[in-house]
Symmetry: C2
Subunit: 256 residues, 2 copies
């Protein structure tokens, strides 16, 4: 069956988009059929695959609005086996429109129904908030992957995120499970990174992936070339870490 994974954390700048783009690419590289859904009005995941703003037609907004089906909005990317539903500025308006819409929480789930027969993995990149777009991502997903930057402010927000996940599970999506937590921008020379990593492993136990993603400038350079870092520089530590993460994701299935 298809696995739908939401990449979520309301803390900003923790590596959600970078994880969505590169985990998806790594899964496609081992011949999984992958769909990435850019549910963030910023549209960074769409940029990460090299789709210029001027070329973004129908996408996530139309899925939420029920105006198009997945097969009509999913577009091929430079990566074999990987399709993308882009985000456009129309999505910025969706947040406000959703608040007063019918069935507001299940719109993305309904929109992605068809994708379950077409793909092995659906990866949803969500915005830095616990708003209706993120709620829609959590309701549409079977699993949540939480990127966690090794910084103090990032640690602070985790309990708010867990409460939101619990609530979504209780009210809208009983199947929702936490696939795992991945430490990002880990810098072994920096004692803060280490102490946050220890706290996270203490709190989450084996939900924390063994792979942590090192801070690596090649990772942040890749988007300016419109490519995932796996394509931009496969040998670099960041790309290698995402390959290892993908292996763990393939091996690990939440208690179904």
């Amino acid at each position: 069956g298809c696995r739908v994974i939401a990449i979520a954390n309301q803390k900003g700048g923790v590596g959600k988009t970078t994880t969505a783009v590169n985990l998806a690419t790594a899964l496609a590289a081992v011949n999984k059929k992958v769909l990435v859904v850019d549910a963030d009005p910023q549209g960074n995941a769409s940029t990460g695959f090299g789709v210029p703003r001027s070329k973004r037609g129908m996408g996530t907004y139309e899925l939420l609005a029920g105006e198009a089906r997945v097969s009509e909005v999913a577009e091929a990317t430079i990566i074999p086996n990987l399709s993308l539903v882009t985000s456009s500025t129309a999505l910025a308006g969706a947040e406000i429109e959703l608040v007063t819409a019918d069935h507001r929480e299940i719109r993305l789930r309904n929109g992605l129904n068809e994708s379950r027969e077409l793909y092995d993995y659906v990866i949803i990149d969500s915005p830095p908030s616990l708003n209706m777009l993120t709620i829609n991502s959590l309701v549409a997903a079977d699993e949540v992957l939480v990127p966690l930057q090794c910084e103090f402010y990032a640690l602070e927000g985790v309990s708010q995120l867990l409460r939101t996940i619990e609530k979504v599970k209780e009210l809208f999506n009983p199947n929702l499970e936490i696939l795992g937590v991945v430490l990002t921008m880990y810098d072994k020379r920096n004692s803060l990174s280490d102490s946050v990593a220890d706290d996270v492993r203490g709190f989450f136990g084996d939900k924390v992936f063994e792979t942590s993603i090192p801070r690596n400038v090649r990772v942040s350079e890749a988007p300016s070339h419109g490519k995932p870092v796996l394509v931009y520089d496969l040998r670099c530590p960041g790309a290698q870490a995402y390959l290892h993460l993908a292996k763990e994701v393939l091996m690990r299935r939440p208690e179904a």
Copy 2:
């Protein structure tokens, strides 16, 4: 008169909170009476001043709801001359409540009216989005300070932010001016940082502050001690940069 400055950028993790906390502390250090308003449900600015979550009573939520006046919710901090309006989890609900409320855009401006007689500077930390909380911050403010991380994805979002600022100015707040753009987490060893900095200076001209904030681990350690970096380690490069930034802010007044 009082200067109300919103710290805004919808891109996550660019240094909004760090800039709000440390700029405010630097201004208080030169005897300006300063109020920090934490308008982000994450509540990181409140943490940055050492206010534990359990101690957060009435704050920004009550200001928005019209249930309390500034003088009732502003609380003293460890910093002389600096008061804080805290954020609590109640604020997470404000976003949805505001969408359908009367006068939804001007609620924070109304709530902060009284502060104009009590303080020299009001610094508002906003969340990583262009939602109702950020709109309220922009409508309440006279000036906008934009922290911009020297990274490609961060550069991408600037035009969306400028469009939103223009719209707020047109519809709700004709006095709103861009005070300036400050480059954050600048790493001179990294060519990406340099090329983004060049792009930003080319685009914004002298709106870009001369001071850029270097990436400095002491800055990210300070919140875990509940202190601004100016208090935690005044000599470090990050703290020194925020002192220089404050000097520039004092010297620079937008065309009134």
